[in-house]
Amino acid sequence: MNEIALLLAATLASGTPLAIAGLGLLLNEKAGVLNLGAEGMMLVAAIAGFAAAYYSGSDIVAFAAGAAAGALMAAIFGWLVIWLNTNQYATGLALTLFGGGFSAFVGVDFAGKKLSDRSPLNIPGLSDIPFIGPALFRQHPMVHVAIALMFAFGWFLYKSRAGLVLRAVGESPESAHALGYPVRRIRFFAVIAGGALCGVAGAYLSVVYAPLWVEGLTAGRGWIALALTTFATWRPARVLLGAYLFGGVTMLQFALQGAGVEVSSQLLAMLPYLATIVVLALISRNPVWIRINMPASLGKPFHPGS
């Protein structure tokens, strides 16, 4: 019983960076911008956060550094894609490739260094509830932040006027422009905020989850987070659900290894990626569903001159 509780706890911890990054990308996509640079942003943020934690010893500084790194990279991407109207796919790819190279370069001095283990939060009373206690309440605060973010997003997107405007911009930037909304500025803010969240997720990986730095630390999580937004049909609660699902699959691979299952570790390591492919295929199957839920202007450039 205790093993399952621990597995659940590990799933939540593992899914949290995916959830936070996924929510950040959701914000982007609701505004109509597809940022394929998620992986690159997370990598740069991971090394920034790691370096900050290493030198300052403070988690808060590390997360701030990660958020700043993510936001900065997103700003470059946003400037190119929104103001200079470059191709969103190519520019996002450029961000990822650059981020990979840059993080590897900066991280050379940090390879193999370790940070002190982060002791999980212990909420008195709640943490002692059998099963639920160890599963839900002995976690790093970020896990709770992710859940809180989900609620905040739900309120923002569907109950606030600003959220309505954002969705309108993603649905039809031309109409929003005709009504006088500053479409490009709104998209730019969405991109930067999304980048900051991806940055927080990246810092979480290197500072809390690992906690170490190695080249390519994120191992494709940025891409999985992108797949998450489609899987979640662009709804915040489902982003979290998907994130924990993938967290679970990742944990499954370790659990199977630990249980002495006779499958090579490399084949087990394929599991999260194969799971992503399968889920993506199943969700995308229904074109009508996608059409109704996907922001209509996603990925398309916006020219205010029309």
Binding site: L97, E174, G220, Q266, A281, G305
Partner: protein
């Protein structure tokens, strides 16, 4: 202040100039980066951009490394022009190495031998098929399930890497290899014939150049190539004309998968002569940059392929001669792509000095539809 003003017609001159401007800007930023790292900027630039062309040996290395880049990029050009965003060329490359390497390994362990290179065509064909099969998975999922080819092809890269790791760590590991994750060295009969004596350069380079010609004809003179490009430029027009989007999707993915697989097999049977977890140093991803810097054009790709190959060699030289981390190459390559995309704007927009800020709304020409679009009048 500076303002961007739309050009009435895209500028052809800028199409050519843009990659060059991007390169110049990259070099400038590189110099600044060297200075920031405490190294002499001129020395750094020399090592990265000049040394690789110094002497026959270096040039042969540049040509050698450009081969997989050119091959992969040619296939990707077909994909991107068709608006099929295959970014899993790296995975298709690895599967090509696995398939070609697998054939080579089988021949070697069965003791089938012969003069150098006699069985290499077999290895290469197997490689191409391996890459095609891997790309076919992406095509199938997009065709039948409408799954994004970007994400599927990318996920398959990670799967391919793990597959390669598994093979060289477990079933294909050389029993005499001191437990290192590597296969036996392939028999000489499977190696690619050498092109230049005393260098690692092999006939694969010539094959790449031949493909440049083939792809040019395909893209710009063939009916199938025309259909693919219309599908990429205006899907509704392609439907109107009756071009099959499905055929285009499969053609694009199988072509680029085959080319990447071919490149992978060439790496395994060319310079490496065995399989290790490090068959690829990110060729599949670098090829994406090669493709864009080369303007998605077969001839441009030859030049950009050599340019990026030079940067790869430069990175190695930088490490051995100046103690700079090899990861610097990745930084420069990423920078080059970014700057290229930014400079490309100049093809469609002009920079102008404007006085007071204006709500300038130039008349853009958009698809004219009776009730669903606007036309400036």
């Amino acid at each position: 202040m500076l303002k961007l003003e739309a050009r009435p017609q895209p500028s052809k001159a800028m199409s050519f100039a843009s990659p060059l401007i991007a390169l110049v800007l990259t070099v400038i930023l590189a110099a600044l980066l060297f200075a920031a790292l405490g190294k002499d900027p001129l020395k750094g630039l020399g090592v990265f951009f000049v040394e690789p062309l110094n002497g026959m040996r270096s040039i042969s290395e540049v040509l050698l490394k450009s081969t997989p880049l050119i091959l992969c990029a040619l296939g990707l050009a077909v994909c991107y022009r068709s608006n099929v965003w295959n970014i899993g060329a790296e995975g298709q490359f690895l599967l090509g190495a696995i398939a070609g390497g697998g054939v080579a390994l089988w021949l070697t362990t069965e003791g089938i031998s012969g003069s150098r290179g006699i069985y290499s065509p077999l290895v290469l064909i197997a490689g191409a098929l391996g890459g095609m099969v891997w790309a076919a998975i992406t095509a199938l999922l997009r065709d039948k399930f409408n799954a994004s080819e970007i994400l599927v092809s990318l996920m398959l890269v990670y799967v391919a890497q793990q597959l390669l790791n598994y093979l060289v760590f477990v079933p294909w590991k050389d029993p005499m290899g001191f437990n290192f994750p590597q296969t036996k060295t392939f028999d000489a009969s499977t190696w690619l014939p050498a092109l230049l004596p005393k260098s690692r350069l092999h006939w694969g380079f010539v094959v790449a150049l031949v493909f440049v010609g083939i792809f040019w004809s395909f893209l710009f003179r063939s009916w199938r190539g025309y259909q693919l490009q219309v599908g990429g430029l205006a899907p509704a027009a392609a439907r109107y004309a009756g071009f099959s989007a499905r055929t285009s999707l499969w053609t694009a993915l199988l072509t680029s998968g085959g080319m990447a697989g071919l490149a992978g097999a060439m790496e395994a049977a060319g310079p490496l002569k065995q399989l290790t977890p490090h068959v690829s140093t990110g060729y599949g991803f670098t090829a994406i940059i090669v493709c864009f810097v080369g303007r998605l054009h077969p001839v441009g790709i030859v030049f950009s392929g050599m340019l990026l190959s030079m940067m790869l060699i430069g990175g190695e030289l930088g490490q051995s001669r100046l103690g700079l981390p090899n990861a610097l190459t990745g930084v420069f390559q990423g920078l080059l792509l970014f700057l290229l995309l930014a400079c490309d704007t100049l093809i469609f927009y002009r920079i102008r000095w404007k006085g007071a800020p204006h709500a300038v709304v130039p008349p853009a020409v958009k698809p004219a539809t009776p009730t669903t679009a606007k036309e400036g009048a």
